[in-house]
């Protein structure tokens, strides 16, 4: 186990883009080499050493911990594409933290800005405060968002989390989001993601969902008209086999989506609800 410590020298005026801060990039490098890694400040190409004090020692990627201190709310893209090791951020962090990460862990002891864990492919992102909009979402124009991994946010998250999540039980890809409470359009265009909300959600949860499970343990203001009530359940089985117990009302949907599994039988005119996305709301 080795550790590299970064400390922000002073807060920046315009955003700093620091996707070079990953265990993958730091592994096996000397402090001087790490200080020379590139960061972007406006149109200028500068180095980590220009903005951070760097101490510690770095060895193998998977055994490496990078801990960062300071107000990083204007520092973007920390942990982008990382595939192993760990990053601990003590303070608020800017946009795109851990985007497209495929392995390892990021722990944010503070709040995160928009696009935290966007298009996550694996690994774990944990945020102890709140997170902005588009947590674990697909970037603009992508039809495949988060494909695997886990995001945990203790506080509330913004709108459109887990947009275009894409999971598959046979392929063992189970993108999962657990959060305190969520803004509108949670899990929109969800294709097989799992979302658990400990508290309340805003409007239109599960809009255009095809597969996937959304569990809301608090309140939801209004359920989309295209969701059909199935009944009350006492236990929910998630894709990974885990179970959640408690009294929930089960809904199937979104039935407004054409190419989903909610076929209407031509013969009987009846709706097949068995193989559809699920929305559970505490009774």
């Amino acid at each position: 186990m080795s550790e590299i410590k970064l400390k922000l020298k002073k807060e920046t005026e315009i955003p700093l883009e620091a996707e070079s801060i990953t265990p993958d990039n730091f592994a096996g490098k000397s402090i001087n080499e790490i200080k020379k890694l590139v960061v972007y400040y406006g149109r200028e190409e500068l180095t980590i050493g220009d903005f951070f004090n760097v101490t510690g020692k770095s060895e193998e990627k998977d055994d490496l911990i990078i801990s960062i201190n300071g107000n990083l709310s204007n520092v973007k893209r920390i942990g982008e594409n990382m595939s192993g090791g760990e990053i601990i951020i003590n303070g608020d962090v800017g946009m795109h933290v851990g985007n497209q990460m495929s392995g390892g862990k990021i722990q944010v002891n503070g709040n995160a800005d928009d696009w935290a864990g966007a298009m996550l492919k694996g690994g774990e992102l944990e945020i102890t405060g709140d997170a902005g909009n588009y947590v674990g979402s697909a970037y603009r124009g992508f039809w495949k968002g988060m494909t695997n991994g886990v995001i945990k946010v203790k506080g509330k998250i913004g709108v459109e989390a887990m947009l275009w999540a894409s999971g598959s039980v046979p392929a063992k890809r189970l993108p999962t989001l657990i959060c305190g409470s969520a803004g509108s359009f949670l899990g929109i265009h969800n294709h097989g993601g799992t979302i658990i909300v400990e508290g309340d959600v805003d409007r239109c949860a599960g809009a255009d969902q095809i597969k996937g499970i959304i569990v809301i343990k608090g309140k939801a203001p209004k359920i989309l008209p295209s969701f059909k009530k199935i009944g009350e359940v006492k236990e929910i089985e998630l894709f990974n086999g885990e179970k959640i117990t408690g009294k929930f009302i089960e809904y199937a949907g979104d039935h407004s989506v054409k190419k989903n599994h909610s076929t209407v039988s031509k013969k009987t005119g009846e709706l097949n609800k068995s193989v559809n996305g699920r929305l559970y709301i505490a009774a």
Binding site: E13, D114, W115, D208, K228
Partner: protein, 440 residues
Amino acid sequence: MAVKKIKTIYDVLCPFCGTLCDDLEVDIADNKVVEVRNACQIGTKKFYSSNPNEHRYETPMIKKNGKLERASWEEAIDKAADILANAKRPLLYGFSSTECEAQSKGVELAEILGGVLDNTASVCHGPSLLAKQDVGQPGATLGEFKNRADLVIFWGSNPVHAHPRHLSRYSEFVRGYFRKDGRNDRYIVVVDPRNTHTAQIADLYIQVNPSEDYELLNAIRAVLRGVELDEKEVSGVSMEKIKELVNTMKTCSYGVIFFGMGLTQSLSHHRNIDAAICLTRELNDHTKFSIIPMRGHYNVAGANQVFTWNTGYAYSIDFSRGYARYNPGEFSSVEVLLKDQVDASLIVASDPASNFPAASVKNLFKHPLIVIDPHESPTTVYADIVLPAAIAGIEAEGTAYRMDNVPLRLRKVKDAPGECLTDKIILEKLIEKVKEKRGE
């Protein structure tokens, strides 16, 4: 009194709204507009605004001791280039009320500066573009709708006031090849929370609760698929009415949805458009259906086109890395200003001070501000440098894209007053000077 010689110019384009009418006749005497024929009242007004008036800038202006004072082009360009070349993250914004050739120069300048580039779609139909990227868009040109559509739906748009001649040229009263009887051959539906003047001349008016369009679209889509809903009423609209609308949609021979900012700028923004586009796509299983945004500024569609063919993206572009990156919400002008992430701004043919949230405007004024504009506006008043422009489409020619992305040629009908230059020439001067200062 000597009789003034009047010159009439025919087939003039109206550089005001996205309808981009191309049949105007403008009478000019003494380099003044004396009469405009065929244009609607708002279009006509724009032509008259080019006549001499106290709100027009005729020379470059530089702020000295808190007041804008006249300056030479040389001094103004030099100072403006200084500000831009020294900025770490300049914002270039506007571009929707100028011609494509100038827009292209704007892209070039933004790339050289490594700045943030954005146009007004950011605050009007940006959501439409986002939705289009997510789910596509079955569209057509206005001529197609005029000749074929027998069902016209205005959703969150009020053309009677925002696009006055749209109705008589393309969508309501006009006779089409297959719609020989004009208005009588079309069924008009308006969906809007307000009983607008457009709603009052519709065959079916659906009053939706404010900001609940998404839920209504969602219900319509489900009903279209044959799903029986549990609800009796959605967004304030009864299930009977929803079924009636779905039936009308399914049985028409060619339908079109014209949507406006009532849909893009209400609560669900791009998700409204996402749902409306999905609905249109699904309607094509039953009949022919299209959907198209009612673009506001006459050349905002052009700004999207020009930005896209130059950078790959329609708006909200960041050049800080030397190549184009795109992310509305991160690189869109309202947000970068709100978070105070730029250190200088160049505004071209636009008035963000009137349209942006107050917090963004405050930060816009905090840093050096350069404005290229023909007229005084709330934005120019706070500018450090104002570069006076000829009004594109009246005092300068060029290309503009109609709301359906058809390019048309803007005409020049009169000369610009004083020392005004075209947007394109001003931007070229800036590019040259910035390059010089960077030693390129």
